[in-house]
């Protein structure tokens, strides 16, 4: 018999290294034509940091996304980053990037102020131009300003940025500390169908809701949500690195035996993005790379309970484990 059930799970997740002390630096160079090169030390592991950091740079400078190039290739050229982990890059590199872009913009504003015989505070950079705040028709193209800065005023238009959260050492007895940059919030709903004869569980629906502070790029945000969702389904139902844990027998040695989800195992995922701005984050953003993999498994386990009345205290909810639980319960 196939029985259906629904389960939910909630969660939260910190941005940045727990305990702080993780730095990132950024460098924004304005080329003589007004385009920009952002240099950072964090890796793009697929999550898309080059994209979101380029967006932030473009936003601050008032230029197009296409006019920003990102260099993150090597340690000879790129400034320090602690690395791409701990859901930290959007937040920590984002803050460093914004600081660097603002720093570069300030130089442009200074130069434009000289050219327009105004004070830098009277000017604003937007839409590819630097214009006078209360007289928008008086403006210079950013390229014009960058060119004048480079060739006329012999200035190197480079902005520098840095962000590091202060280290937070936990109290040895109570653990008291302020360990994280910001917290993001999550809730998932899973609907499953359990085959009481084979023990197989099929995920029919996985609906996700995440607070990301600010989705710098909603398409990439969805990408993280869906990718983490699939990883969560794999953890919930099929993945076992040590099938006879704690022993090492019968360990999978190929990706046929270590069964990560395929297209056939994942339903069309539904998600909703909620934006509760981080008090200190870049444009209010938090990070969500990791948290998306956390809620699916408990939501699925709770859905299995809703469907057939058994609790699984151990993952994955493999057919064998589901059948054993049904047997123990008696009668299915």
């Amino acid at each position: 018999m196939r029985k259906r059930g629904v389960g939910i799970a909630a969660g939260f997740y910190p941005m940045g290294m727990s305990g702080g002390g993780d730095s990132s630096q950024a460098l924004v160079k304005i080329q003589p034509d007004g385009s920009a090169v952002l240099t950072v030390g964090s890796c793009d592991i697929g999550q898309g940091c080059k994209t979101v950091l380029a967006q932030m740079t473009a936003e601050v400078l008032g230029i197009d996304y296409a006019q920003v190039k990102v260099v993150n290739d090597d340690t000879d050229n790129c400034p320090l980053s602690f690395g791409t982990f701990a859901s930290r890059v959007t937040y920590v590199d984002g803050k460093a990037t914004i600081a660097a872009a603002e720093n570069a913009r300030d130089i442009l504003l200074e130069v434009a102020a000289q050219m327009l015989e105004k004070s830098p505070e009277d000017l604003v950079a937007a839409d590819g131009k630097i214009s006078v705040k209360d007289d928008p028709d008086t403006s210079l193209a950013i390229g014009e300003v960058a060119g004048a800065a480079t060739f006329g005023m012999r200035r190197l238009v480079v902005g520098l940025g840095h962000y590091m959260r202060d280290p937070a050492t936990p109290d040895p007895d109570t653990g008291e500390c302020d360990p994280v940059c910001s917290l993001a919030w999550a809730a998932n709903l899973a609907e499953v169908e359990v085959d009481t004869e084979t023990g197989e569980v099929e995920v029919l629906r996985l609906v996700s809701s995440y607070d990301v502070g600010k989705a710098i790029n909603p398409m990439l945000t969805e990408g993280q949500i869906e990718g983490g969702g699939a990883m969560g389904v794999g953890a919930a139902l099929s993945e076992q690195l040590h099938p006879h844990y704690p022993g090492l027998e019968d360990q999978p040695t190929n990706l046929g035996d270590y069964a990560i989800p395929t297209t056939m195992d994942i339903p069309d995922l539904e998600s909703v993005i909620y934006e509760c701005p981080s008090t200190n984050g870049p444009f209010g953003a938090k990070g969500l790379g990791e948290m998306t993999a956390n809620c699916p498994a408990p939501a699925i386990v709770n859905a299995i309970h809703d469907a057939v009345g058994v609790w699984l205290n151990e993952l994955p909810a493999s057919p064998e484990r589901v059948l054993r639980a049904l047997d123990e319960k008696g009668g299915g």
Partner: protein, 454 residues
């Protein structure tokens, strides 16, 4: 001010390179004359090396270099430097690298590996952290099988008084959960290419997720840090032109484009070995792990055993939560203790609970070292506490939504480490979830907010 670029669905920066196949990963970097590396790994999970004979491998035509522990200037690395690049005496897990060969091609490298002779005294391993914690357990590590958080064998978090909390509770719910070990299964396997140049600079193409973090560790392994002993492999090659140790600038660590990480590439797997063999042979050296090696011997999400005891009042409020978590760390510290810290700080979950006691243990076993994976220690905590809260709801006859709304953090409350939460949105996130999923929640829940505890 309205934003023009932030918040927009602009196309992925490197998307065009991806869809044309132009994106260059480490294994796609082709340098003429590159040697292929294979590792000689321990056949046993625990043992003591009596003798290692690599002479037959070294004598083989086509073999350019063989390295063992003797060739590693500083044979200990990691945040807490306790992991050898190549085992000198004590083997702590099956598959631990003991030697590595660089040869003209893969077949030659494999043949050379097969010619290495190892005399090892096998010892009784321990795989179960619960066994490893016992005083008479086989010693995985000389300093003991349980990682010390300062003076304690566990990270301790105390908020309020759980015993007092349990007294106030109407029901107590206690359960044990096991979160299994998981593999990242990132599609790009561990790989590294090290290219030396005559000027004394080493270029390493890496899959690292954390360039600077690993660069610092590599400099330690190669003893290239300023003020330390000069790298002994390096000196003969560069001779008198090598005037000083410039440190970070001696290696150009090339990466930034990674074929999936998920935490798999937060620890050095291959770069130290390629660097050492490149320095020894003077030739570019590449090491690409097989998928089998990646599954069996790379870092992974270590398993967790969690016991949760909750005290709950009839209205569904969790008034006390006691958690004992045991992390199976495998054989080395890697990022395990950090994972346990992160777990312990937030294990009590996204709920305001006034009395919390957490003990987070990090226990060594004779498995390959576990380390970071997407979600660190929060993933197992979320699994356990979110199943637990459903069990509580069932026992109270309460709706699983309602119990979460009742306990959810509100603005200004604080976590178990007394960190005040400001940007709070669990209530709203759950309301959005219900709307999206088409679940009709009672007005009582839909009108709640994260700004006040109703």
């Amino acid at each position: 001010m309205t934003m023009k670029v932030v918040g927009q669905r602009v196309k992925r920066y490197d998307g065009m390179a991806h869809v044309t196949g132009e994106t260059r990963f480490v294994d796609d970097v082709i340098v003429p004359g590159t040697l292929t590396i294979k590792a000689f790994r321990s056949p046993v999970a625990k043992g003591n090396i009596k003798d290692l004979d690599t002479s037959a491998a070294e004598a083989m035509p086509g073999v350019a270099g063989v390295i063992t522990a003797e060739d590693v200037p500083c044979n200990a690395y990691g945040l807490v430097p306790d992991q050898p690049v190549l085992v000198e005496k004590a083997v702590r897990y099956k598959g631990e690298p003991i030697a590595a060969v660089a040869a003209v091609d893969e077949d030659t490298a494999v043949e050379a590996i097969n010619k290495i002779k190892l005399d090892i005294e096998e010892e009784k391993p321990v795989f179960d952290p619960l066994e490893a914690m016992k005083p008479d357990a086989p010693k995985v590590r000389p300093e003991g099988n349980v990682f010390m958080f300062g003076e304690r064998p566990f990270r301790q978090i105390i908020l309020g008084d759980v015993e007092e909390g349990f007294k106030k509770a109407d029901i107590i719910v206690e359960n044990e959960y096991l979160h299994p070990s998981l593999e990242h299964a990132q599609l790009e396997p561990q790989a590294s290419l090290a290219v030396p140049d005559a000027g004394g600079k080493l270029t390493i193409y890496t899959v690292s997720q954390a360039l600077y973090f690993h660069l610092g560790q590599l400099l330690g392994i190669l003893q290239m840090e300023p003020d330390k002993v000069q790298c002994k492999q390096w000196a003969p090659r560069t001779g008198s032109s090598w005037r000083h140790n410039a440190g970070f600038s001696d290696i150009n660590y090339v990466g930034g484009t990674v074929g999936g990480g998920f935490g798999a590439k937060n620890d050095i797997h291959a770069d130290h070995v390629t660097a050492l063999l490149a320095l020894k042979t003077g030739q570019p050296c590449k090491w690409r792990w097989t998928r089998e090696e990646d599954l069996l011997y790379s870092t992974f999400r270590g398993a967790w055993r969690m016991t949760i005891k909750d005290g709950i009042t009839k209205d569904g409020r969790i008034v006390a939560r006691q958690i004992k978590s045991i992390r199976d760390a495998g054989a080395y510290s890697t990022l395990n203790f950090y994972v346990v810290d992160k777990h312990s700080f937030l294990a009590a979950g996204p709920y305001f609970i006034e009395n919390v006691y957490v003990q987070g243990y990090c226990v060594y076993t004779n498995k390959p070292p576990a380390s970071s994976m997407r979600g660190f220690g929060i993933t197992p905590a979320t699994f356990a506490t979110e199943v637990q809260i459903d069990k509580i709801a069932t026992q109270l006859g309460m709706d699983p939504w309602e119990i979460r709304f009742v306990n959810a953090f509100r603005k200004g409350e604080h976590t178990a480490t007394r960190r005040v939460v400001n940007s709070v949105a669990l209530v709203e996130v759950m309301q959005k979830l219900a709307e999206k999923a088409g679940v009709d929640l009672p007005d009582k829940l839909m009108t709640m907010t994260s700004t006040e505890r109703g």
